[in-house]
């Protein structure tokens, strides 16, 4: 249904550790407003149940009935959203969502729990190129979560501690398993927790900047996914991009995060759902998904 001339749509993004939902009012194009969002950690529950609950929460917060939504778009683990209208792949939705959060975005760095993905987009959010980290988890949130657990640090404190580092300790730049061994050695050598965490952040940042370079990213890079909320991670990426600027001024990276970065996939899915609905409407095929 519509809110005046605007469509109400929802995007649901079940990830490895949390389900993110956004309810958006838009015209099917660039003019859009996020009405409500919800983030629900999965915490060993069934992801379908969590997705339904988060969706209901977001609808309630937006003051809309699910039946009023013109399109419910899933992204990420779409199988967890049986009531979806359609599904969009996460790189498409993160690209669109990042562009909504920062219209200057020309690349996206999506750092989730299990994978990191670099995505190059055009000014419409259309994906021009992408690459994902391989099976190795060393550039992802799960890796950082493991390290935090070894160090006995709450995940939410990791960023602030990393920012307080004075002499970051270098860790293995290749392998998460080796890096974990490095961390154990550092602890036994008395390296401070902030310096260890900063070293980890720098190690991940190095890998992620290489990922961005491999897809030809330049200009504004918007961070999305769970690690975009980690100020230590953001700082490490910015410092590395700044350090590169002197020798690669023409292709410099401008790393940006947004308070809603974690919701980029859900927002992008909702926006693409509205776009798709308009497309079906123009083709007289709305009943196709009724």
């Amino acid at each position: 249904m519509s809110d005046g001339t605007r469509l109400l749509t929802a995007g649901i993004d079940p990830g490895a550790s949390a389900v993110k939902v956004a309810v958006v009012a838009s015209d099917g194009g660039d003019a859009a407003e996020v009405r409500a969002t919800a983030v629900e950690r999965i915490r060993r529950r069934g992801v379908r149940e969590v997705a339904t609950r988060a969706f209901e929460q977001a609808c309630a917060a937006a003051g809309v009935e699910p039946a009023q939504l013109a399109y419910v778009a899933s992204t990420g683990d779409g199988d967890a959203v049986a009531f979806r209208t359609g599904h969009f792949y996460s790189m498409t939705t993160h690209g669109r969502g990042a562009l909504f959060l920062d219209p200057d975005a020309r690349a996206v760095l999506d750092i989730g729990a299990l994978h990191a993905r670099g995505i190059r987009v055009d000014e419409r959010g259309r994906v021009l190129g992408h690459r994902m980290t391989s099976q190795c988890a060393s550039g992802t949130g799960q890796f950082l979560e493991n390290i935090a657990r070894y160090l006995g640090v709450p995940l939410d404190d990791v960023g602030a501690l990393s920012l307080a580092a004075t002499s970051p300790e270098k860790v293995s730049g290749i392998c998460a398993v080796l890096a974990e061994t490095d961390v154990i050695n550092m602890v036994s050598r008395g390296i401070t927790t902030p310096d260890i965490l900063k070293g980890i952040h720098q190690s991940i940042a190095g890998r992620l900047v290489l990922l961005l370079r491999s897809i030809g990213a330049q200009g504004v890079v918007v961070l999305t996914g769970g690690l975009a909320r980690d100020p230590g991670m953001v700082a490490a990426l910015r410092e590395l991009a700044e350090a590169e600027r002197a020798r690669r001024a023409d292709t410099a990276l401008d790393i940006r995060a947004h308070p809603d970065s974690m919701l980029a996939g859900a927002i992008g899915a909702a926006l693409l759902g509205a776009y798709r609905h308009r497309q079906l409407e123009r083709a007289g095929r709305v009943e196709r998904v009724a």
Binding site: R48, A82, T85, F88, Y89, A290
Partner: protein
């Protein structure tokens, strides 16, 4: 405003009580019967009758049934078999199917078979046939040379002679001598099975949300070791149940998948394509079931073997192992896409499958000229890491859905 969809909030009704659950469970049981227990049971119920295995793509199964043999389609070991010994018989740069077939045989999983036919697909299957003779010299095996000359006076005569040779060889091994009435009846049963399969395909094209390709694949594959009449009954049961389903319709992209006619992708790969937002509305998986594009003609007094030969010549589908004009294959693929109302094509070929991969550039050119988006991927029957395929299929599905192009 145009009427808009109203998504139900909780899981769709189809997930609650699926009337197709029974036929699907039976199909899964049959597909997972790696050691051919159903074949053993059939042989116990038919003392003295032969079970004859055959490799993809096409073997005239009614001929075997008419001689009271049970045709058993062999599709390799899939993703359930660790290849250990099979690898030592073949070079590394060929497809996976022959290795897993040898592995199954050496493990005794194919012992219920009294013989195996190796139809002409490619050099690799020809080599497998030769290897088989060396490994199992006491068991019946034969290479079935399918004609590439489609002139009835040449290829037709040659093929009919091939079928008569196999008939004689099977009779020598204990099969019932061929009788015209029995062959006509077997052809009629095969046509009935084919009708059920085509009805299933038609429903899948009309309402893919009612018949996911992954399920259609399973019920088709379940017929590998079933007589045609039993397979038809299973197909019909599934079809009836699918029609009764309460369904939830998704806004997916309609695609044709082509190239997996011989070595089969793991079921999870098909599921991955579906989860990426694709409705697979046509495919060439297990092509043998649909190799003939129409019913085998029957008529009073006709010579059954000549009928089978003529059906192969006249009704054979355009596929990589059939040497027909490149333009003809491209045009046939475009026709399939149009008939299915598909928006794009996914080329899914087994790694090192020369027939599929050599044809692909020509098929791509035909799709390009027709403005049909496509993408391509490769698999092997035991592909377990599907992330890259998921990524690629997801990107393709979104690009077609949102931008009407492949990128």
């Amino acid at each position: 405003m145009t009427a808009t969809p109203t998504p139900p909030l909780s899981p769709p009704p189809a997930a609650m009580a699926d009337p197709a659950a029974g036929p699907l469970a039976e199909a899964r049981r049959l597909v997972e019967d790696r050691s051919l227990d159903t074949v053993r049971a059939w042989k116990a119920a038919h003392p003295g009758a032969l079970a004859i295995g055959h490799l993809p793509i096409y073997v005239p199964r009614p001929l075997l049934e008419a001689m009271d043999c049970l045709p058993v389609a062999l599709f390799g070991g899939g993703d359930q078999v660790d290849i250990i010994r099979g690898d030592s018989y073949f070079q590394s740069y060929i497809c996976h199917l022959p290795r897993s077939t040898v592995e199954l045989a050496l493990a005794g999983d194919l012992d219920a078979l009294d013989g195996v036919l190796f139809p002409a697909i490619c050099d690799v299957v020809r080599n497998l046939g030769g290897m088989w003779k060396l490994l199992f010299p006491d068991r019946y095996s034969s290479y079935l040379d399918l004609p590439q000359n489609l002139d009835p006076a040449l290829g037709g005569r040659f093929y009919a002679d091939e079928l008569r040779r196999i008939t004689r060889e099977l009779v020598a091994r204990g099969a019932t001598p061929l009788a015209e009435r029995a062959l006509a009846a077997a052809i009629a049963r095969e046509n009935a099975r084919r009708d059920a399969l085509f009805a299933l395909d038609a429903l899948r094209r009309r309402q893919p949300w009612r018949v996911p390709a992954s399920e259609a694949y399973l019920v088709a594959r379940a017929g590998a070791a079933l007589p045609a009449a039993d397979h038809r009954a299973l197909l019909q049961a599934y079809l009836n149940a699918a029609l009764q389903r309460a369904v939830h319709r998704y806004d997916n992209v309609r695609v044709v998948v082509t190239g997996a006619f011989c070595e089969q992708p793991p079921l999870e790969l098909i599921r991955t394509l579906e989860l990426a937002g694709c409705d697979i509305v046509d495919d060439d998986f297990q092509l043998g079931w649909r190799y003939l594009e129409g019913p085998i003609p029957t008529g009073a007094g006709a010579d059954g073997i000549e009928v089978l030969a003529r059906a192969y010549l006249d009704l054979g589908t355009a596929t990589a192992s059939r040497y027909i004009g490149e333009e003809e294959k491209g045009a046939a693929l475009v026709r399939r896409v149009r008939r299915a109302g598909a928006e794009g094509v996914i080329f899914a070929a087994a790694s090192f499958c020369d027939p599929a991969l050599l044809d692909q550039p020509m098929l791509e050119a035909a799709l390009g000229a027709a403005g049909i988006p496509f993408t391509s991927l490769k698999f092997s029957e035991n592909t377990g890491q599907l992330q890259v395929i998921r990524e690629q299929a997801g990107a393709f599905s979104d690009a077609v859905k949102l931008w009407g192009s492949a990128a």
